[in-house]
């Protein structure tokens, strides 16, 4: 199995220490790279410097530990789980640990990015190493004080004990520890000795969340801060022609109406680029107001005319474009094994099906927003963005500041799902503040977010299988997508390596509709298509659908193909666990089951959906999930991610639709756009495969298999195959209740 990254980062010089002027030990460290030799450790908390260090640990002389980390928290729980890993190796009582969101100056970051379910996977080794090194420093300091060998001392819950039974709390030796050399080659704990990892640790922000304390971007306030709403073209393909702000300026609280767009065009002309920069070149009209309501009302009162400069696209046109791609010959081949032509020519039977999915908006509950204060000397930014280092870099380039003059404060994010990987709202806020020379918060309405989004691409898959002598002898997957193609690794996910004659082709259409990553990019729909298709193949071959997967997986075990991403053994173990826990095939009368399994983001997941019929209509009761994500750092947080991912996957597969007419999105708010609600939810029961392998991410992998499990259960109940999302349109009923 291929390892995408080398986590054996240099253990040298990744960590530095200082004595705090207020007393206590401060440790600055980096996740993946060495600290720069010239990096200077701060000696007070007010001047923590995240240019040179990814994070800091403070150990006070009372023995309390505070971890300062700017890693973005979008609800995936890393603000809790990453400090748990440090605390484990540091050997401290969790109740003496506090976690503080560091602010962010952005140079030299290796991974201050929330996306791709990779935070824990990337951080695991480095965080353990850091905690263990800090612990060893404290032990060394104590040993020196006692004049004994450090190896004769032990630690537990923040207490160091020597062979005579003498004890020091960590706080009692921090000042001495700060003066010692950083030890190398420290010993990590045995996994069996973990006392914090594997415990159910409640989200570190829970008290603030349940009492409504300011945490999110929209909660950010600064003296003199104004509010800005942005009018963008109502249709893709349009640019601003002219506008009349007379009525808008009459709205009480509206201070000014301006346009922005020059800076973005200059940036594009300069030849600079950045993958997070997905911004239209049009001028935009901005209402500056004293408060949010005036900004919203002022924008409604604007009169603008728009000019169509590129094709006004529609869903019918998108549908035809994608079908034409699938019917055509022009593709990029992403993987090819054996000879699929021969396999199809010699097949006993060939099966081909086409699967359809719409564009989807992200609909983070907290609409896009950002604070910017541009002054002659510097730029201060604050808010929710999944890629802070890129956002700061683009703003520096956009406005012509050195990067070290751009300071970005991270807030908690009211959901991400990929939308906040793109910093368009940060650049707009910066351009507005630069224009008015005042601090400003850019705000958005739900309609802004839903109609001027960066959508999940509309995708169709056509899958063709050759069946010969009761086996799948050939497999050909074609992807047609608008605005993107599956990322490189996906063509090496299951069933690659399991079928001798195999091919994955992709082709995309470049649309003026902006598209980007959406939770579990591509696999969010591909898993449904493939897992439905395999269910259909199992029916055709008259074999148990789980047995078909297990038989296929035998072919990938022991593969020497380094491109193969997943593990046949781990997938098999995961599938067997869900088969057992879901009572597969042994449920009571009237319960219909559907199975689906998928590997993505380095995690193996298998799911079984249970459906009953109520007045002939499917009601989803339960989804049983088995997950292999290696060591489970924080089981409550881990289950929460999987439960949410499964329901999110079901919700979007079942209910969420999106369409365009004359370039305009036809869904604007939650009155017509459906997100799953409580009455539609089944119970999700999560089981983890127990092993001692390094942990992998959970923000995304629960989602991809969910749609297939539900579709296959609906087939078991009704005999109807589903090929098009959202399912509700094919089921022709208003609701499938949980």
């Amino acid at each position: 199995m291929k390892s995408q990254i080398d986590t054996n980062f240099s253990r040298r010089n990744f960590l530095k220490t200082s004595a705090l002027v207020s007393g206590g030990l401060l440790i600055g460290f980096n996740f993946l790279t060495a600290c720069k030799a010239e990096a200077v450790m701060p000696v007070d908390i007010a001047s923590l410097n995240f240019n040179d260090f990814n994070a800091f640990i403070k150990i006070s002389d009372e023995g309390y530990v505070t971890i300062f980390s700017p890693n973005p928290e979008i609800g995936q729980g890393v603000k809790t789980s990453m400090p748990m890993i440090i605390a484990e190796e540091l050997d401290i009582d969790w109740k003496n640990v506090a976690v503080s969101q560091g602010s962010l100056d952005t140079n030299n970051f290796t991974r201050q990015l929330a996306g791709g379910s990779q935070s824990i996977r990337f951080g695991w080794d480095a965080l353990r190493q850091t905690g263990a090194t800090a612990r060893q420093m404290l032990v060394n300091a104590a040993a020196q004080k006692w004049n004994v060998e450090a190896s004769s001392c032990t630690t537990s819950k923040g207490i160091i004990t020597n062979a005579n039974g003498d004890k020091f709390g960590y706080g009692e030796v921090v000042n001495e520890a700060a003066l010692l050399e950083v030890p190398e080659d420290v010993k990590l704990k045995e996994i069996k000795d973990f006392t914090i990892i594997g415990q159910e640790i409640v989200n570190v922000d829970i008290d603030k969340i349940i009492t409504g304390k300011p945490l999110f971007g929209l909660d950010y306030k600064a003296d003199g801060m104004l509010y800005a709403s942005v009018l963008r073209p109502p249709a893709f393909g349009q640019v601003l022609e002219s506008f009349d702000a007379t009525e808008a300026k009459k709205v009480k609280g509206v201070l000014d109406v301006i346009t922005i767009g020059d800076k973005v065009r200059d940036y594009l002309k300069s030849g600079k680029s950045n993958w997070t920069f997905v911004v239209s070149e049009t001028d935009k009209v901005v209402v500056i107001a004293e408060n949010t309501w005036a900004a919203i009302k002022g924008k409604k009162a604007l009169l603008a005319t728009w000019k169509t400069v590129t094709e006004a696209e529609s869903t019918e046109m998108h549908d035809k474009v994608l079908t034409d791609i699938l019917d055509g010959e022009k593709f990029n081949t992403r993987r090819e094994d054996g000879d699929i032509k021969k396999a199809f020519a010699s097949a006993d039977k060939v099966i081909e099906k086409t699967y359809h999915s719409p564009f989807l908006p992200h609909n983070c509950m907290e609409p896009m927003n950002f604070y910017a204060n541009v002054t002659a000397e510097k730029v201060h930014l604050a808010g929710p963005v999944q890629t802070p280092e890129y956002a700061a870099q683009v703003v520096a380039d956009l406005l012509g500041y050195e990067l070290d003059k751009v300071h970005l404060d991270m807030t908690r994010m009211g959901g991400g799902f990929g939308r906040r990987l793109y910093g368009d709202f940060v650049y707009e806020a910066a351009e507005i503040s630069d224009a008015i020379k005042k601090p400003v918060q850019l705000i958005s309405t739900r309609e802004d977010d839903m109609t001027t989004g960066i959508y999940k691409p509309a995708v169709k898959y056509r899958i063709k299988a050759a069946l010969k002598d009761g086996k799948v002898s050939g497999y050909y997957l074609k992807e047609a997508a608008i605005g993107g193609s599956m990322y490189g690794a996906i063509s090496n996910f299951f069933p690659a390596g399991c079928i001798p004659n195999f091919k994955v082709d992709t082709e995309s259409y470049k649309s003026n509709v902006t598209t980007g990553a959406w939770r579990a990019p591509y696999t969010n729909f591909l898993a449904f298509a493939e897992q439905s298709f395999f269910d259909e193949l199992a029916s055709e071959l008259n074999v148990d659908t789980i047995q078909l997967r297990l038989d296929l997986l035998q072919n990938v075990k022991g593969t020497t193909d380094e491109k193969i991403e997943y593990s046949g053994q781990r997938m098999e173990d995961t599938i067997k666990l869900v088969r057992e826990k879901a009572n597969w095939g042994k449920t009571e009368e009237g319960v219909y089951q559907g199975f689906s399994a998928y590997y993505s983001h380095n995690t193996h997941v298998a799911e079984v959906a249970d459906i009953v019929l109520k007045d002939g209509f499917p009601v989803l009761k339960k989804v049983t999930v088995a997950v292999d994500c290696g060591i489970v750092v924080n089981p409550t947080g881990a289950r929460n991610q999987v439960e949410g991912g499964v329901l999110d996957g079901i919700g979007h597969a079942m209910y969420s639709d999106f369409s365009f007419k004359e370039g305009k999105p036809e869904f604007k708010n939650f009155d017509t756009y459906r997100l799953i609600r409580m009455q539609e939810t089944p119970k999700v029961v999560v089981h983890f495969v127990e092993n001692n392998l390094s942990p992998t991410g959970l923000g995304e992998p629960g989602l991809p298999p969910a749609g297939g499990a539900v579709a296959n259960a609906i087939h078991a109940a009704l005999g109807k195959r589903l090929y098009r999302q959202p399912f509700i349109k094919e089921l022709n009923k208003s609701s499938v209740l949980g």
Partner: protein, 154 residues
């Protein structure tokens, strides 16, 4: 702009606002009570839920000019110590993911439980159906409402 005085979390609060300003934006922008969240602006998501004389309402739909001496409670005033049984249940079950919708969920749940002390599973699912959680932490919200109801009846 006119002056208003409202009863919010047991205190009289005075401010100026345009008469059509929704209570939501008065709370957030004028009174710095930012626990009440903006999600959709059309009463479809429940993120802005507050109590008006103990009843759960959508503050994005309540124009400030129609309010007078009603008792308004926001998440900040639900309890003085964060220990309302619903808040405690939320903590016990580690409900939130991103957390943005949760104050609205808690306000809907607490108003509902003050009316229905011993709700069935169906009652809970119906009562909470108006609040969207984009992270889909629905299983935990449902269980937490149940746990809170048990705390309140014991």
């Amino acid at each position: 702009m006119p002056n208003y005085t409202l009863q919010i979390n047991g205190e009289k609060k005075s401010f100026t606002a345009d008469e059509d300003t929704p209570l939501l934006w008065v709370l957030r922008d004028e009174l710095n009570l930012v626990g009440t969240k903006f999600g959709c602006g059309i009463a479809q998501c429940g993120a802005c839920t507050v109590h008006l004389d103990g009843v759960a309402v959508r503050s994005c739909q309540l124009q400030v000019s129609i309010l007078s001496d009603e008792k308004i409670t926001t998440i900040e005033g639900l309890s003085t110590d964060g220990k309302h049984p619903v808040q405690e249940a939320w903590k016990e079950l580690d409900v939130p993911q991103c957390g943005y919708c949760q104050s609205g969920q808690i306000m809907t749940a607490s108003a509902f439980l003050s009316q229905n002390k011993n709700p069935s599973e169906d009652d809970i699912r119906e009562a909470m159906n108006g609040n969207i959680c984009r992270c889909a932490s629905y299983n935990r919200i449902e269980n937490a409402v149940k746990v809170a109801s048990e705390k309140m009846s014991s």
